[in-house]
C-alpha cells in the first residue's frame, strides 16, 4: 500500500502533518497562561517564565482568570500607617508594599515617599527603636510580612515567600497557534503622518518608528507593530497595538515631539542621544519625587531626575550662561534668564538656572518640575506622570517634525469572538454547498470524496502556513483564505474534467494532467498578478488579503493540486 503513495502524495501528507503541528489545535486548552513576568520581581528571580500554564496556586486549582485573582487576593496588602522618626523630624505616612525608602547603614539614601528626606538617620519606626540593621529588618518583616506561596505550572512547582501579589500578567490559554489580527483581537490601530517643512526622508521615518516603539514600550504597551506605510508620495507610519486603549495610544503618540531647551533664543540642547546621552529613569536613586507642599489649597509635588549632557551640549550651555547676569533672591541666587523647555514648539517648562551654573561647563544636570492635584496622592501621580513624559522625550530622542494622526481605530474584542464562531459556520456551510454542486455535476462519490478531502487539506495547510509565519489573521486575510479555497475547488474541477474527457480520447495520464496544469498555471498566474498591487495599497491594510490569497493559491497549485492528480489517477484508472 505504501508503495502506492506517490511522491506528490507524500508532499501533501508531510505538509498536512507540519500544518497540524503548527496550528497546535488544543480545544481542551485549560488553565491560565502567564503572559508577562515583571523584570526584577521575585517571580523572575525564582525562574517563572512566560507561556507557562498555571495549574494551581497553593493547591487551589486554577481554571479561569477569576480563579487566579481570587487565589492570590490574600497576598494583596492594605496600607499600613508608618511613623518614622529620624534625627531631623517625625514623619507620618502610609505604605502598602514596602517602607518607601532605601537605607544604607540606617541612613536614608533615597526616598520614594515624598515627605522623607535623604541623609537623615533612622531613629525609630512605629515606636520601635532601630539600633542596628537587625532591628530594621525585623521591623520591615513585621510591617510587610512575607507569606509562603506555591505556584504549580505546567513546567514546574515554585515555592517562595512574598508580601505582594505575584508580579505577573495572566490570560486565558490559547486554543490554537493562529495569531488573530486586530479585527479579531481588539486593540488600537493608528495611521500617522510626520509633518515638517523639510522633506521627510526614509531615514526620518525609520527614526520615527524607532522612537515611537521605545516610547510605547516605556509606557508598558507590548505587542506593538509599527511599520512604514506609503501611499503614493506620502510617507506614513502604521501602528497596531493589541489590547490597547485608543485614547491612551493617541495621547502617547501625540506627545511624541520635538524637544528643545533654549535660553532666550539660543538652543542649548535638544532631545536625543547626541546631546543627551543619559537620562536617569530608575526609581529611588537619581529619579525621585523630592517633596510635596500645599499651596493655596492645591497639593504640589516636585520631581527630579538627572541627565548627562554631551560635552558639546555642556560647552554650549556654559557659553550661553556665561553672558547672563546673576539675580539675588531670598531663596538663593539665579541667572536672569530661564532655561525654557519647548515640546512641539510649545513652552512646557521654564527652569530657573542656579547661579552656580553660570559659565560652568558641566555634563551633570538635574531637571525638576512640578505635579499638581487636589490630594497629595493625586499630586504625586501627576508629578510621576510629568516626570515620565519628560524623561521619555529626552530618552528616546526628539524628532524634527510633528505627528498628525490620520486614522485612529479602536476595535473591541467582542466582535472578534463572535466572528470566529461565525466564520466556522460559514466554512462548514460553504463546504456543504460546494459538495452539493460537485455531486450534482458528477454523480460519483469517487469524484466527490477526493475533491472534498483535497479541499479540506488545503484549508488546513493554509492555516498551518499562517501559523508558521505568524501571520495575523484579520477579516481581509480570512476573506483571502476563502478566495483561495474557491480557486482550489475550481482547479480540481478543471483537472477532473480533463481526466474524464481525456478518457474518451484515449490520451495517457501524463498528457491529460499536463493539459489540465497548463490551464491551472495560467489561472494561477493571473490571480497572483492581480493581488500584487494590493501589497502596498491602502497603507497595507488590505495586504492580509493579498498575502493569504497568494499563499493559499500557491499552496494549492504546488502541493494540493499535484496530490489531487495522483489521487485521481488511483481512483479513475481502473
Amino acid at each position: 500500500m505504501l508503495k502506492k503513495i506517490t511522491p506528490r502524495l507524500w508532499i501533501l501528507i508531510i505538509a498536512l502533518v507540519i500544518s497540524i503541528y503548527a496550528i497546535n489545535l488544543n480545544p481542551w486548552a485549560s488553565g491560565i497562561e502567564i503572559t508577562n513576568v515583571e523584570p526584577g520581581s521575585l517571580e523572575e528571580q525564582y525562574g517563572i517564565n512566560n507561556k507557562e500554564i498555571i495549574k494551581s496556586v497553593n493547591d487551589i486549582s486554577i481554571n479561569t482568570v477569576l480563579d487566579y485573582y481570587n487565589a492570590v487576593s490574600k497576598y494583596s496588602n492594605t496600607a499600613k500607617e508608618i511613623e518614622l522618626i529620624t534625627d531631623k523630624g517625625v514623619y507620618n505616612y502610609n505604605a502598602t508594599d514596602d517602607i518607601g525608602f532605601i537605607q544604607d547603614n540606617l541612613t536614608i539614601i533615597s526616598a520614594r515617599e515624598p515627605i522623607l528626606n535623604t541623609k537623615e538617620r533612622i531613629i525609630s519606626i512605629n515606636k520601635i527603636e532601630i539600633n542596628d540593621i537587625k532591628y530594621f529588618n525585623k521591623a520591615i518583616e513585621n510591617l510587610f510580612p512575607k507569606k509562603p506561596i506555591t505556584i504549580t505550572t505546567s513546567k514546574s512547582i515554585y515555592s517562595y515567600s512574598t508580601n505582594t501579589i505575584p508580579k505577573i500578567s495572566v490570560s486565558k490559554s490559547k486554543i490554537t497557534n493562529l495569531k488573530k489580527g486586530l479585527d479579531l483581537e481588539g486593540g488600537t490601530r493608528a495611521l500617522i503622518k510626520p509633518v515638517s517643512d523639510k522633506d521627510i526622508m526614509d531615514l526620518d521615518v525609520e527614526n520615527l518608528i524607532d522612537v515611537i516603539e521605545k516610547r510605547l514600550n516605556v509606557y508598558g504597551l507590548s505587542d506593538i507593530k509599527i511599520r512604514p506605510a506609503n501611499i503614493g508620495n506620502e510617507k506614513l507610519v502604521l501602528i497596531e497595538i493589541s489590547g490597547a486603549d485608543s485614547e491612551e495610544v493617541k495621547e502617547k503618540i501625540s506627545q511624541q515631539g520635538k524637544f528643545e531647551a533654549k535660553i532666550g533664543d539660543e538652543i542649548v540642547f535638544i532631545g536625543g542621544n547626541k546631546d543627551i546621552p543619559f537620562v536617569c529613569k530608575d526609581d529611588g536613586t537619581c529619579a525621585t519625587i523630592t517633596s510635596c507642599d500645599v499651596f493655596e489649597g492645591t497639593n504640589q509635588c516636585i520631581f527630579q531626575f538627572a541627565i548627562t549632557l554631551s560635552e558639546e551640549a555642556a560647552k554650549r550651555h556654559s557659553e550661553v550662561t556665561k553672558t547672563l547676569n546673576v539675580i539675588q533672591e531670598d531663596s538663593g541666587s539665579r541667572l536672569d534668564k530661564t532655561l525654557d523647555l519647548y515640546l512641539d514648539d510649545r513652552l512646557v517648562n521654564s527652569l530657573q538656572i542656579g547661579s552656580e551654573l553660570k559659565g560652568l561647563e558641566t555634563t551633570q544636570i538635574a531637571i525638576s518640575g512640578p505635579g499638581f492635584g487636589t490630594t497629595r496622592d493625586a499630586a504625586i501621580d501627576d508629578a510621576s506622570k510629568n516626570m515620565n513624559e519628560l524623561q521619555s522625550v529626552l530618552i528616546t530622542g526628539s524628532l524634527p517634525f510633528k505627528i498628525e494622526i490620520l486614522k485612529l481605530d479602536s476595535i473591541s474584542p467582542i466582535v472578534g469572538n463572535n466572528f470566529v464562531q461565525n466564520a466556522l459556520l460559514v466554512g462548514i456551510v460553504a463546504l456543504i454547498g460546494v459538495a452539493l454542486v460537485v455531486y450534482i455535476r458528477y454523480r460519483r462519490i469517487k469524484i466527490l470524496i477526493p475533491i472534498m478531502i483535497t479541499t479540506i487539506s488545503e484549508l488546513i495547510i493554509i492555516l498551518g502556513a499562517a501559523s508558521l509565519i505568524k501571520w495575523n489573521l484579520d477579516l481581509v486575510a480570512i476573506a483571502g483564505i476563502i478566495a483561495s479555497i474557491g480557486t482550489g475547488v475550481d482547479h480540481q474541477i478543471i483537472i477532473t474534467d480533463e481526466i474524464i474527457s481525456g478518457e474518451s480520447q484515449n490520451l495517457n495520464w501524463k498528457e491529460r494532467i499536463k493539459r489540465a496544469f497548463f490551464i491551472i498555471m495560467g489561472a494561477y498566474a493571473t490571480t497572483v498578478v492581480t493581488m500584487i498591487p494590493l501589497w502596498n495599497a491602502g497603507a497595507g491594510l488590505v495586504r492580509g488579503f493579498a498575502v493569504t490569497t497568494i499563499i493559499g493559491t500557491s499552496i494549492g497549485v504546488f502541493i494540493t493540486r499535484p496530490a489531487f492528480a495522483s489521487i485521481a489517477e488511483k481512483l479513475f484508472n481502473k
Binding site: G232, D409, N418, V426, L475, V489, I519
Partner: protein
C-alpha cells in the same frame, strides 16, 4: 443525432429524464445557432454600463459610491442586543449631521447583536456623547469599536486603490499575452475581463452599494476569477484540435459553469451567514461579477475566438 455525442454517457449512471435532456439540447441548439447574434447582448450591456458609470461620475465625481473608509468619516459599532428603532433620527437631531444605521444580526435568529453607525461628518467625541446620551449605555473599549478615517486619507486610499485596479489589469493582460503569444486570443480574454468589470461596477452603482477598500480588493480578486474561466475556454478552443469546435466549447461551458457554481455556492453561504459587513460587501461584489462573467465568457470570448479558431483549423 450528432448532438448526442456531446454527453459523455458514462458519467450519468442514472437514467436521465428524457425531457431534461431535450431541454438542455434545446438550449444548446439555440446557443450555437445564434452565437454570432448573441454578441449583441454583452455589447449592449457594456455600453449601458459605461453610460451608467460615466453618468455616476458626473453626478458624484467618483466611479462608484464610497463608504466612510474611502470618503473620510467614522464607522462605529456598538455591541448590544437592545434595539433602538429611532436611533438614526435621534442621532441626526443631536449632532445635526447625516448618520446611517445598520443592524448586525445573528445568523438564523434575527437577534440583534450590534449596531453599525456610519457618518462622514460627525467627529468621534460628538458621536460618543450623543450615543451614550440616547442609548444610556456606557461606551467602553469592550463594547464599542470605532474606525475613524480623515478625508484626506480616504482620498489617498481611493486613488491608490484605483491605481491598483489599473496596474492589476495591465499585469493580468501581460500574463495572458505571455500565455497565448498571439493577439486575438489575448484580446478575447482581456475584453471579457474588462466587460465583466465594467458591468459589475455599473450594477454596483445602480444598487447604491457603498464600496470600501475591502470592496476594491474584491474587485481585484474578481478580475483573477473571471479570467480563470476565460483561460479555460480559450485554451480548450485553441489547443484541443481533436474535437470539433462546438464540442470543445460545450465541454468548456460544462467545466466552467461547474467552477462558477461551486464558487457562488460558497460565496452565497458566506454572504448570508457571516455577520461581518466587510465580508458581505466583498462576497456580493464577487457574486455579481461571477454571474456577469458567465455571459461575458461564453458569448464575448467565444465569439472572438470562433473566427480565429476556424481560420487556423
Amino acid at each position: 443525432m450528432r448532438l448526442y455525442k456531446y454527453f459523455d454517457k458514462s458519467i450519468y449512471k442514472k437514467v436521465i429524464n428524457g425531457h431534461f435532456v431535450s431541454k438542455i439540447m434545446g438550449i444548446k441548439e439555440f446557443y450555437f445557432k445564434n452565437l454570432k447574434r448573441l454578441i449583441i447582448l454583452p455589447i449592449l450591456l457594456v455600453l449601458l454600463s459605461l453610460f451608467i458609470i460615466t453618468s455616476h461620475y458626473y453626478k458624484t465625481g467618483d466611479l462608484f459610491n464610497k463608504d466612510v473608509s474611502l470618503q473620510g468619516g467614522i464607522s462605529a459599532s456598538l455591541n448590544t442586543d437592545k434595539e433602538f428603532p429611532d436611533l438614526e433620527k435621534q442621532l441626526e437631531l443631536q449632532t445635526n449631521k447625516d448618520v446611517t444605521i445598520r443592524k448586525l444580526t445573528e445568523f438564523g435568529s434575527d437577534n440583534q447583536i450590534g449596531i453599525l453607525i456610519e457618518s462622514s461628518d460627525v467627529k468621534n467625541d460628538e458621536l460618543r456623547s450623543a450615543l451614550e446620551k440616547i442609548t444610556n449605555i456606557k461606551l467602553t473599549k469592550e463594547n464599542y469599536s470605532v474606525q475613524e478615517t480623515g478625508p484626506s486619507l480616504g482620498r489617498l486610499f481611493y486613488r491608490q486603490m484605483l491605481i491598483s485596479l489599473i496596474i492589476s489589469f495591465i499585469l493580468m493582460s501581460l500574463v495572458i499575452i505571455f500565455i497565448y503569444r498571439s493577439i486575438i486570443p489575448s484580446i478575447a480574454v482581456i475584453s471579457a475581463a474588462f466587460s465583466d468589470m465594467a458591468v459589475t461596477i455599473a450594477i454596483i452603482d445602480l444598487m447604491g452599494l457603498k464600496i470600501s477598500t475591502a470592496g476594491i480588493a474584491a474587485l481585484l480578486l474578481l478580475m483573477g476569477y473571471s479570467v480563470d474561466t476565460d483561460v479555460l475556454l480559450s485554451t480548450r478552443m485553441i489547443k484541443r484540435k481533436e474535437d470539433p469546435v462546438e464540442e470543445r466549447i460545450t465541454k468548456s461551458i460544462k467545466t466552467g459553469l461547474t467552477m462558477t457554481a461551486t464558487t457562488i455556492a460558497a460565496l452565497f453561504a458566506g454572504y448570508f451567514i457571516s455577520n461581518s459587513f466587510v465580508i458581505k460587501e466583498m462576497f456580493i461584489i464577487l457574486m455579481i461579477g461571477l454571474v456577469v462573467d458567465i455571459i461575458m465568457t461564453y458569448i464575448v470570448n467565444t465569439n472572438l475566438l470562433l473566427g480565429y479558431v476556424k481560420k487556423n483549423a
